[in-house]
Every structure is written in structure tokens, then in C-alpha cells.
Amino acid sequence: MSAPARSQLEELGLSATCAEVLHHLWDYLDDQITPAGAERLRAHIAACKQCQQYEDYQECFLRAVAGLRQELGAPESLRERLAERLKGQGCGCWNKVRREP
């Protein structure tokens, strides 16, 4: 870390490892970090209330976005149209596109 960056962090009251959390929290939550890096972040977050709160906030955000996954199914009309087009292509399993009754 450069000297100017370090003094800026000190000015903000942040330790060097709080800065690492800011930079790498998403990598950590996405499992895109080395095991050693994950352990380093985990240990710091466990000891730092500010970073715990930030982690909670980001985890909540990711849960909310994941919750947008609507359990939508392809409409029957689409299945019918696709079945006919696959049949036209000579596909032998065209009737399997339709949902089983």
C-alpha cells in the first residue's frame, strides 16, 4: 500500500485490514478469494464491528437480489409453438416439450 493511501486510511480511522474488506468483500462473499485471503478477512470481520455491519449489509443485498429469481415457467402457449417448430425440424421428441398432464 502506498504511503499516501495509508495516511488517508489513518485519517479515516481505518486499519489496513478494513481497507482490504472494502476491496475484497464481494470476492469473499462470491467465494472468489484464496483460502488464506478468506481466512484473513473472516478473522478481521469477526473482530471489527464496522466490517461486520458492512458484511451484513452486503449479504442482505445479495439475498435480496437472489430473491428476485421468480419461479416462472415457460407458458403453455410457448411450449405448443416450440413443439410445432421442433416437429417441423424433424425432431422426434417434439411432443415432450409439452408438460405432462
Binding site: 476491496h23 449489509y57 415457460a74 416450440l82 425432431c91 416439450v97
Partner: protein, 199 residues
């Protein structure tokens, strides 16, 4: 089929291909539809994209490697069909890396905290606003968020679907997340949400 003969006998390879297509590709129809709808944001357009996706998949079934991730393969075709269905492609955005957005997100968090919006994402009444914000998110950030955060794909799978390096997925994903968070704080303010306790 001729007038005085039965149906043309299917070859053994055709039968095997159809069986494999039925087993490996058709089960993903609902997932592909959901993904297509996320991209097009319009049911009739999604309908067209899905049909074209499966027709292309069937015609090029010989290029699918058995045992590999068929859902990912179909999503790749689907996204390419979607991009081609538009008259022009949006310019590709090259981002340096995602860390600037990761750090910038902490500023968004601080702004949210000051307004008492620490728990903003836990509020069920914000879900429609979050969906709308995602629908309005610009490409290519929207695809990255949909694939990784909504459809729970790995960076690697998303990279293959989007046809970009993993690092590009990461930077687009982080930008998309940061933009969504900024939007939600603004929405909460505009709606006059009462925070848990503004600081």
C-alpha cells in the same frame, strides 16, 4: 412421408440425438425462458428468443459435449440470439477492474447508514423497486447481475455465457451491484422511507 408409404424410418443416430436432446436440453426450458425474459423484459420477445434458442440448440446438438453443463450452453445460445435480435449491439464496455466499484459501494453504504437505511435490503416493500432497478440496469451490467446473483451461476459459467474473460464478468458484476445499491438508496429517499434511525 409419401402417399402410399408409412413414415420415414428414423436412423439410430437420429433416435439417439432426440433422446439426448430430450434428456439434457428440454428440462431447461423454464430456466431459459426466465433468462430470456430477464434479457428482453417483454414476454412476446422472450417467447421468440426461447423458440430460436431451442431450434438452434437442436440444429447444432452435435456441437454440445455430452456431460458438460447444458444449461450454460443453452444460456450462451440464448444470449447470442437476444443480442442478434437487436438491430445493433450495444458497445462493449471495458472496465479496468471491479475494485473501484467495490470500494465505491462502501460510500453508498455510508450514505445509506446516515439515512438509517442499513436494513434497506431486508425490506420486502422494496422488492418491486429492486426488480425495476434491475430491469433498468444497463447492459452489460444487467446480464452479469442476472447470471451470477439471480441465476446463481459461477463467474466461470457466466463468462462463458457472456463470451468474456472472468475478470470482465467480475468488473461488470461489481459495477452492476454498485449501481443497483445507489438506485435503491435514491428510491428509498424518494419514497420517504423511514430509516431505523438516521445518524
Amino acid at each position: 412421408m409419401t402417399a402410399d408409404a408409412g413414415p420415414v424410418a428414423r436412423s439410430a443416430s437420429d433416435v439417439a440425438r432426440d433422446a439426448a436432446f430430450e434428456r439434457d436440453a428440454l428440462p431447461w426450458l423454464d430456466d431459459v425462458y426466465r433468462f430470456a425474459l430477464s434479457l428482453t423484459r417483454e414476454e412476446s420477445d422472450a417467447d421468440d428468443v426461447v423458440q430460436e434458442t431451442f431450434l438452434r440448440a437442436y440444429r447444432s446438438w452435435h456441437t454440445f459435449i455430452p456431460g458438460t453443463d447444458c444449461r450454460r450452453w443453452l444460456f450462451t445460445i440464448c444470449r447470442n440470439v437476444f443480442l442478434r435480435s437487436r438491430e445493433r449491439q450495444r458497445p462493449t464496455v471495458d472496465l479496468e477492474d471491479g475494485e473501484q466499484d467495490a470500494v465505491a459501494a462502501s460510500s453508498v453504504y455510508e450514505a445509506a447508514r446516515e439515512r438509517g437505511y442499513d436494513d434497506i435490503f431486508a425490506r420486502l416493500d422494496l422488492a418491486p423497486a429492486l426488480r425495476e432497478a434491475l430491469d433498468e440496469l444497463a447492459e452489460p451490467f444487467r446480464s452479469a447481475v442476472i447470471l451470477v446473483d439471480v441465476e446463481d451461476m459461477s463467474y466461470e459459467s457466466a463468462a462463458e455465457v457472456m463470451g468474456v474473460p472472468i475478470g470482465t464478468v467480475r468488473s461488470r458484476l461489481f459495477r452492476g451491484r454498485r449501481l443497483l445499491q445507489e438506485k435503491l438508496v435514491t428510491v428509498a429517499e424518494d419514497l420517504g422511507f423511514q430509516g431505523a434511525g438516521a445518524r
